[in-house]
């Protein structure tokens, strides 16, 4: 580190710009006024992406329900027409025209540590981890062989309380 003594010395001679009296008065007012929230700048928008992911998830689920309804109707008609020539259904598929979940995967393709943050209502700091994932759900109709797969991106924010130092 001695190699950098000179440059460090020069850097320390640089003085950060002073703040104005107006700024001090502004802070003084904020400190004295309980009506001025301590959360003036931070909005709940930090959860915005989370809500978007939730919205996408709900939309995907709704789409699934619509598609599943269409598929099961078609499956019922087909099963009526081919039931006589088909082998006996498997014992577990008693409700033959139902889609059965066959798999669910969640692939985390990015994790980001966003450092320490405050959250509203929390006394201490929390470490914020952001996970970006792709979730895939699969269903299969054992009777007709039709399958359905829904895949959507999601983002999850995890807040981990940090204990005192």
């Amino acid at each position: 580190m001695n190699d950098f003594f000179e440059i460090e010395h020069e850097l320390k001679k640089l003085r950060p710009a002073r703040f104005s009296h107006e700024f001090l008065a502004q802070v003084e007012q904020a400190m004295a006024d309980p009506e001025i929230s301590g959360d003036k700048i931070i909005r709940l928008n930090r959860f915005g992406l989370h809500w978007i992911a939730l919205g996408v998830g709900v939309a995907a689920a709704a789409l699934f329900l619509v598609l599943a309804q269409v598929s099961t109707d078609r499956g019922a008609k087909q099963s009526e027409s081919i039931a006589q020539n088909s082998p006996a259904p498997e014992p577990q598929s008693t409700s033959a025209d139902q889609f059965i979940p066959t798999g669910a995967t969640q692939v985390v393709y990015n994790t980001r540590d966003e450092g320490l943050h405050f959250t509203d209502g929390s006394e201490g700091p929390m470490r914020r981890l952001r996970y970006q994932t792709r979730e895939t759900l699969q269903w299969r109709n054992a009777q007709t062989g039709e399958s359905l797969r829904v895949s959507y991106p999601s983002e999850e924010i995890v807040l981990i309380p940090i204990s005192g130092q």
């Binding site: 850097l11 640089l14 001090l24 700048i41």
Partner: protein
């Protein structure tokens, strides 16, 4: 433990910390006014939650958190951060009290450092945080903080090495 809330004169405490905090906040926002809003927000929040003033890592993490949330607002994160970082690299308002040409050149060189290095440099040199405190505030390891600091000094030294 000394406390911001219990501090007899918070102005003394604020006056001591504010220049460095403003410089730190200016890493993300272009204007001095935005930096002042961020620092005010952080300091008031810190004061109201009665945190120990000695927990500087937490104070700087608060500033950073508010700054990042500010630049993320109303837009996509990656684009806004890229804009904020590129904007902060061409700040119009001076961040230092410059007395001569050499200091002007040095300040300009600091501005040209990669963001990760400059962030650590600002915390270390002008805010006198330890590498452990820097690491805690940024969510990185102390070794990474120290490495970034050395890279920053090395880059600056190369720029100003005679001949």
């Amino acid at each position: 433990m000394e406390n911001v809330a219990a501090h007899e004169d918070w102005k003394d405490c604020f006056s001591e910390l504010a220049p460095g905090l403003l410089l730190f906040a200016r890493q993300w926002v272009r204007s001095r006014a935005d930096a002042e809003d961020i620092v005010q927000e952080a300091f008031v929040r810190f004061w109201r939650r009665n945190h120990a003033i000695k927990n500087r890592a937490l104070l700087y993490a608060t500033v950073r958190s508010i700054a990042l949330d500010l630049i993320r607002r109303n837009s996509r994160r990656a684009r806004r951060e890229a804009e904020a970082i590129s904007e902060s690299e061409q700040v119009a308002e001076p961040q230092f009290e410059l007395v001569d040409e050499a200091q002007f050149a040095l300040a300009a060189a600091v501005d040209r450092l990669p963001h990760e290095q400059r962030e650590v440099l600002v915390m270390k040199v002008w805010n006198e945080l330890t590498f452990a405190e820097i690491a805690s505030a940024l969510g990185i390891s102390p070794n990474t903080a120290a490495s970034r600091y050395r890279y920053a000094l090395s880059a600056l030294k190369k720029m100003f090495q005679p001949q």
